[in-house]
Amino acid sequence: MTVSTDAPAAASVSTPATRLRSLGWIARRVGGGVFVLWAVATVIFFALRLIPGDPVDAVLGGPGSQASAEAVAQIRADYGLDQPLIVQYFLAMGKLAVADFGTSYALKVAVAPYVLTQLWSTLVLTLASLVVAWFGALALTLATSGRGRVARALGSGLELLAAAVPHFWLASLLIILLSNTLHWLPPISVPGPLGLVLPVLTLALPLTGFLGQVMRESLANAYEQPFVLSARARGESEWGVRLRHVLRHAALPGISLSGWAFGSLLSGAVVVETIFARPGLGRTLLSAVTIRDIPVVTAVALLSALTFIIVTIATDVVDRIVDPRVTEVAAR
């Protein structure tokens, strides 16, 4: 990570050296991701042991349970809770390394396959929302690309709503309006594409407002760059300037923010899946949190983190392909 002081002329398209550098960069990112996963698992593991309260209670369904001493001891042995802490830690890490998340306290089933089925549902929801938000934002940008005061006001108004409207309230409003009043859509997420509409709308609308505003500002910014003047002076038409030049620049922050946006969608999925009674990681996490089903919490946390890390790396890769300047900035 150093500043690239060498003359820009020295850099060239794709020499073996630059390709090697890119590979090294990806390797570093993947290594960083593995470290983060390990750290998350470790923090959760030790934090749980530091907190007062006996995990056995959670297995038995709360502190009030009247289990016999033998039953408690049996559970301790089953879950490995009778071993020294450090042994428990290494055992746990060893299992996590091979994606063995243990048995759910509440559901008494193996966590890994159960959580994996939930992951798919969440991925469909969040990725669909991301795509919808992306194209919505692009459409919004093009529609309001004039530099008028109205467009600016509309843009910042949308961005404001994106920052201030909670998902759960938006979802409720959509249910009241589109299900209860207009009866267009089912209020809960039925299987199939129709059941996806309301959840995706809920997640995508605020993000659309936000991305749209970012893209709109960056479009306006691009319009003021000298290369636009160069293009116009070549006889390029207004639409030529827009499509060939400024739209790419407008889309750039949309790309680089996609990783972050995916994260915010994962966070929003908790609420949306709960409201629309849709299976998924978020809803699983919420119910596990309420009953302190720690293996499930750990599994969902790690799986979410893993997904998020993968998406972040992917967007960064795309970002570097689309905009060669990112490499130089990122190196600082």
Binding site: I51, A164, I176, A220, G263, S264, L286, F308
Partner: protein, 293 residues
Amino acid sequence: MTEILAGRLSQPAGRAPGIRGRGGWLRNTGVIIALAVLALILTAALAPQLITTADPDAVAPAEAFQSPSAAHFFGTDESGRDVYTRVVFGAGNSLLIGIAATAVGLGLALILGLLGGLGSRLGDFVSTRIVEVMFALPGLLLALVFIAIAGPGVVTSTVAVGLSTAPGYARIIRSHLRSVRSASYVEAATVLGHSRARIVWQHILPGALSPIFVLGTLGVGQAIVWASSLGFLGLGVAPPAAEWGAMLSSGRTYIDVAWWLTVFPGLAIVATAASFTVLGRALNARTRQEARG
């Protein structure tokens, strides 16, 4: 989205769209409206009796589920309690949670940010890694995992919200400190022979910490939204108390018959959060203008 919002506004000029011009009538009107809303909410929080005469917890089963009317502006809930009064009394709880959560988040972020921005290489390494790990669980996920560990309740949910906002703030504070630290005016002060302590105290800290105030203002709105989300999910304030998220949570059961139980507390959240955001953005625009033009 606050951390991105604020981060975006504080990016280096090259790729930051930023706020142009001195702002037209709309921005000013926006700020005035925001201030008015906040004044109202602050009144509701500090002296609710000034705005409503009713008792938020007065149960009247006979008057359950009345739609909004002159007697009950926002209607009544399943126990016949006046929703308007409960929204007014809820302001104190919601605002307090929002401010407390922001304070927790900023406090933690300040430690991490200072360690990363001013500390040694090792300090920076440690702080950056911690922030990375916290970032891996975006938003509510981190809050939920924290609640899973610490147990539900008002205090834990407040801390949870603070915790999940901290990495964003920490990153902004760190990058501000770093950019100010390598600014040419800091080098110029070195050349003048000023001591390191004096430079940090006189130039680096004031320059880099000025965004804190802006971040805090932007953050309270976001924290209220997140805290109410936790309340809505049943992990915050326990339902009988008047808190906006909790009110929404219990109103959700009756969404088919009583839309007002959902709409009005939600409106209160949106109005508050939006006002803080507008104010924060205006502050940000002003500090930027003062600093750089």
